[in-house]
């Protein structure tokens, strides 16, 4: 479990993290979203015990990060931003070093080392110096180090940054597989990742929590939520047919591919009505889809709104 209370960190005049309070339970994967410089990494560095908070407090697996730092660090697996590692060491030496520091011995040590290597597909590069590996491999070495001691709590700062789409998918599968009994926080810029792995998302900007919701709730905030989009052979004809549906608030046509999007009035479902109206008018429709809501649009609206407010005050 991770809990923060009024966690604050200042650098001189700049307040990087401003009285953040949240709680993550075992089994939850919390996604940290926010523009660059929002305070995501700083929050994670405080939780990992690298930086100390200016005020407020936090516990990791029940241990206070300031009064019981070693206990908290033992319970935690942390992947810093950029997944730094000692380049001159081979993958095996690096993982051995972590196992030594974590006090793993005997059979358990061998089991954990094999497990981490297998989960991140590092078997082929075990004896290679880390410096000679590709960016994707380096990231996986860092991840292997973070999960080596099978920690109760995982904090991963941009775990999929720099990976190719296949590797991204593998890391997401890995996080999902570990999520059942662990408390996990990840930060990311990729909104599809929130959908793929997170059970909850916190959007922060300028050091403050703006939204704390499930990915579904976030999507529901989108203008596109419950909207219907379609492509038709005759755009004009389709538009006319749609104008007869009472619950439609607005119709937009994408100038590039002529895709038509119909937005419902608040709280109304229009999919069936749209489908019926098109059929009744005999409009030939190539494709008809119900929009789930766009996270990138929600993200933009929320964070830019906050930055705008900031600029005015």
């Amino acid at each position: 479990m991770i809990e923060t209370r009024q966690l604050t960190r200042r650098y001189g005049d700049l307040t990087a993290v401003d009285a953040i309070t949240f709680k993550v339970e075992p089994g939850q994967v919390l996604g940290f979203l926010g523009p660059n410089g929002a305070g995501k990494s700083t929050t994670m560095k405080i939780l990992a015990g690298f930086l100390s908070p200016t005020s407020g407090s936090a516990t990791v697996a029940g241990f206070d990060i300031e009064t019981q730092p070693l206990e908290a660090k033992r319970a935690l697996g942390y992947l810093p931003e950029g997944a730094p590692s000692y380049g001159e060491m081979s993958v095996r030496e690096f993982l051995d070093f972590i196992a030594d520091v974590r006090g793993l011995t005997g059979d358990l040590r061998d089991k954990r080392l094999d497990d981490a290597v297998e989960r991140l597909h590092l078997d082929g590069v075990r004896e290679q110096p880390i410096d000679t590996l590709s960016k994707g491999f380096k990231r996986r070495v860092g991840l292997a180090g973070a999960i080596l001691h099978d920690p109760k709590v995982l904090i991963l700062d941009e775990p999929t940054d720099g990976l190719d789409p296949n590797q991204k998918q593998e890391v997401r599968t890995l996080i999902n597989a570990m999520a059942r009994d662990k408390t996990i926080i990840i930060s990311t810029h990729l909104l599809e990742e929130v959908h793929a792995v997170c059970s909850r998302a916190i959007i922060i900007a300028a050091g403050r929590i703006l939204v704390d919701a499930t990915p579904g709730e976030l999507e529901a905030r989108s203008r596109y939520h419950q909207a219907v989009s379609l492509t038709a052979a005759n755009v004009q004809e389709a538009k006319e047919a749609l104008s007869r549906v009472a619950d439609i608030a607005a119709i937009e046509i994408d100038p590039q591919d002529n895709r038509i999007t119909a937005f419902p009035k608040p709280g109304r479902a229009i999919f069936v009505a749209v489908s019926d109206a098109l059929k009744a008018q005999g409009v030939a429709v190539r494709e008809l889809a119900l929009e789930p809501g766009r996270l990138d649009e929600v993200f933009r609206t929320i964070t830019q709104g906050a930055v705008g407010k900031e600029a005015r005050t």
Binding site: A48, L70, P80, E81, Y86, D100, V101, R102
Partner: protein, 244 residues
């Protein structure tokens, strides 16, 4: 204590994983040999002792020790591994001390590899081996003090070149603290008491008495204190600079 040992092991091993170790050891041995025989008149003196060998150690260390210490923390900060290291379940002290001990052990290895010169002098005559042991001990302690200073400077910057130059300058001032070059400067701006205190900080004075075979507790305490204070400063500097 196990945290210190693990970090010590990793650090010492990493010296030998790169060419740094071999270059350092070869240069150290070549220079110490060259100084002893050509500048120190090892043979011409006609005395079976290692004075000419040890006399040059402070000057060798002045440039070679900062070359070892400059990467201690600057590299960790530059590559970001400092965040990895300090979020492992080790204390700041274990990290500072483990890294320092590894660098010190590395220099000790280089120092031990000068044993042929000890064999030579024993072959040529019958030196006072007690004095030689004391001199080795003094030399190692002095190297430790240089290293501790370098560790602190290295923690203050992420640029290894800056760390190197600053360490050389500070070590140079401390080496010559008992000599007119430094004292004249301070006597112009500080009262006599402070000038005397600065004179008492001289590496050369403390090393000279140990290398004559006189192991004075005060000289030992001086070097141990020097190491302790600078390592403490290292931890403080790291803590301050973490956020930057």
């Amino acid at each position: 204590m196990s945290g210190t040992r693990t970090i010590f092991k990793r650090e010492l091993h990493s010296y030998f994983a790169t060419p740094v170790a071999y270059v350092f050891i070869v240069i150290f041995l070549l220079l110490s040999g060259a100084f002893t025989f050509y500048l120190g008149n090892f043979y011409e003196r006609g005395q079976a002792d290692l004075q000419p060998f040890f006399n040059f150690h402070p000057w060798l260390y002045l440039f070679l020790v900062p070359a070892v210490s400059m990467r201690l923390w600057a590299e960790e900060r530059k590559s970001g591994t400092i965040e990895f290291l300090l979020t492992l379940p080790v204390t700041m002290w274990q990290a500072v001390f483990g890294k320092f001990l590894a660098a010190w052990a590395f220099i000790a290895i280089a120092l031990v590899l000068t044993f042929p010169i000890w064999l030579t002098v024993n072959y040529l005559g019958s030196p006072d081996n007690g004095v030689i042991v004391a001199s080795y001990l003094g030399s190692l302690l002095m190297a430790g003090a240089f290293l501790a200073i370098g560790s602190c400077i290295s923690a203050a910057t992420r640029n290894q070149v800056v760390a190197f130059i600053l360490t050389v300058v500070i070590c140079f001032v401390l080496l010559l603290a008992g000599f007119p070059l430094v004292l004249d400067f301070f006597s112009a701006i500080a009262p006599q008491g402070i000038v005397d205190a600065i004179a008492g900080l001289s590496f050369l004075t403390h090393f000279a008495s140990i290398s004559k075979g006189v192991i004075d507790l005060r000289d030992l305490i001086y070097f141990v204190l020097m190491i302790g204070v600078w390592l403490y400063a290292t931890a403080v500097v790291i803590d301050l600079k973490k956020a930057a």
